[in-house]
């Protein structure tokens, strides 16, 4: 059998179709951009997608876990904001060193996530409300710390923030991208290859069955929200690196962007089905839509919204139709 035959004979698995469809559309969108706008074709545009969205990627990875269990986490945007504000406060006002701030912030994020997990699991409050409470709470904490954005002039942060990792040619990425990719890889590994990961899928498939199958549903569910809180805090730290500042208004509406990225990436909101790789693609879709519009540069504000919606529609519907036709 020749390689060609093998390629011809390749039939993607049913559940991989949405992902493949999305990937194909991304490539198409990129080629379209490259042929229409100068400088779009330079690889850095793609890398910038990662640089600009590194923090979002980390947040969305946490969200993927939550959504896979059939839950939802609305608190991520606020937790991101809280992390940036706490970092700024600890670094600027309290004079903490960077390497003490990082674990502290991560611990706060995880603790908030844990709290929401307990509300959901132990007190049986619907995830939507429990995390909405978390959203209010974290945002409220931001404001009590500061109603003002302020810069971080810590030299370590500044040097980390401005470090560019060269990839040859004119291309480079940031430290944030490396962190994000490590998180993605770790998440993919956990979801695919560990009992915890499989339990996440099982809960999403049918929580009652998972319980009757003897899985530790309670602990897993709480862990998933803790993990999401942790990822949000980590995303917040990446945002601190990205902007060298803390801002209580950071991440307003971020939860929707993250959810949208996860869902566009093919994960079912009802849980039990989806991949981290899909989430990466979902973020790329949102990012490339924005990049196309920026490169075009002729749209005024409302046309920006309308075209964004239209492109979103095109992506989602094509994805859907491709997925369906080959069924």
């Amino acid at each position: 059998m020749t390689t060609l035959d093998r390629i011809k004979g390749y039939r993607p698995r049913q559940r991989h179709l949405p992902i493949l469809a999305t990937m194909a559309m991304l490539v198409a969108a990129y080629l379209y951009g490259a042929s229409s706008y100068t400088a779009f074709g330079s690889g850095q545009v793609v890398l910038d997608l990662f640089i600009n969205n590194a923090f979002l990627l980390v947040v969305a990875v946490g969200m993927t876990f939550v959504i896979l269990t059939g839950g939802i986490d609305l608190s991520v945007g606020s937790v991101v904001a809280l992390s940036t504000v706490v970092s700024a406060d600890l670094l600027q006002n309290q004079g903490w060193p960077v390497f003490a701030v990082i674990p502290a912030v991560l611990a706060i994020g995880a603790a908030l996530g844990f709290g929401m997990g307990v509300l959901i699991q132990v007190f049986e409050i619907q995830p939507f409300i429990a995390t909405l409470i978390g959203m209010f709470f974290a945002r409220g904490l931001c404001y009590t710390i500061s109603t003002q954005a302020y810069s971080i002039d810590d030299p370590t942060v500044a040097s980390l923030a401005q470090t560019q990792i060269p990839l040859g040619g004119e291309l480079h990425i940031s430290i944030g991208v490396v962190v994000a990719l490590v998180v993605v890889a770790a998440a993919a590994y956990v979801l695919y290859g560990t009992r915890f990961g499989r339990t996440v899928y099982a809960i999403g498939g049918n929580p009652k069955s998972a319980l009757l199958m003897g899985l530790n549903v309670g602990r897993t569910r709480i862990s998933v929200y803790t993990l999401s809180g942790f990822c949000s805090a980590l995303g917040g730290l990446l945002l601190v690196l990205y902007k060298s500042s803390g801002d209580p208004l950071n991440g307003v509406g971020l939860e929707l962007t993250a959810i949208a990225a996860v869902v566009i990436g093919g994960t079912l909101l009802t849980g039990g089905s989806g991949y981290v790789l899909g989430t990466v693609l979902g973020i790329m879709v949102l990012g490339i839509i924005q990049t196309l519009i920026t490169f075009d540069g002729t749209l005024n504000s409302w046309w920006t919204s309308i075209i964004t919606g239209a492109l979103l529609f095109a992506f989602i519907v094509l994805q859907r139709l491709v997925g369906r036709r080959t069924t």
Partner: protein, 300 residues
Amino acid sequence: GGGGAGGGGALTLGFAQVGAESGWRTANTKSIQESAKAAGIELKFSDAQQKQENQIAAIRSYIQQKVKVIAFSPVVESGWDTVLKEAKTANIPVILTDRAVDSPDKSLYKTFLGSDFVAEGKKAGEWLAKEFGSAAGDVSIVELQGTTGSAPANDRKKGFADVIASNPKFKVVASQTGEFTRAKGKEVMEAFLKSQPKIDVLYAHNDDMALGAIEAIEAAGKVPGKDIKIVSVDGVRDALQALADGKINHVVECNPLLGPQLMELVKKVAAGEQVPPRIETTETEFDQAAAKAALPQRQY
């Protein structure tokens, strides 16, 4: 499409706008777009929908596109160093409009063109001090703040508070966010009217909230501009109309029409000319007479 950007010929300006959150902002955008056209500058415009991340992404894409000049209205003051350094490395001059950034490294941008929110708050406070200078007894003030955490809200509150602090008879009896919108301004004012026994003055961080509050005051059977004096910031058309009608007493202008000034600067900066590091837009204050005079030409 068509590969328009960069290149040698035309002067390209990449402008990263905050969003379209208010009529004021729309007027600002329109002014920039129109004057770019008039000045023969090719404009790459992007709307960040109030998100700093989007603005940074847009600036990065301008760097990729090798525009000649980048200009933007920062969503917030902090957090620009990294991307501005990238612009500097790429040798693209940056102009700030509307708001400043707080970077200590002043070499990251060529100039700042815009208003001073603190000064606006001060002007409102000064008008109040004058208007009630002779009044006997305490003056009860209610304040409608902008979106919590936003720069104009923080600064206009601060400037105002600084001025009235000098006289103990001025008392801010209630201060709440009206989120810069008419609807919230009205809703909050309705609550103030019920919880505060005496209100002499309303200070609103923008005109829209003042306009909303006027309706609440009228619905409560009071006369805006008389029973409760009103001072607000911005100077949009509807507010000047209300001022002319006597429903608002004073408006501090925050001028959105900085397009022509910006294009001048862009040309200079692109040509490598020296420009002053800070340029304040021409801004006035309106009383009733000035409002009547200004109304016919008011575009926004």
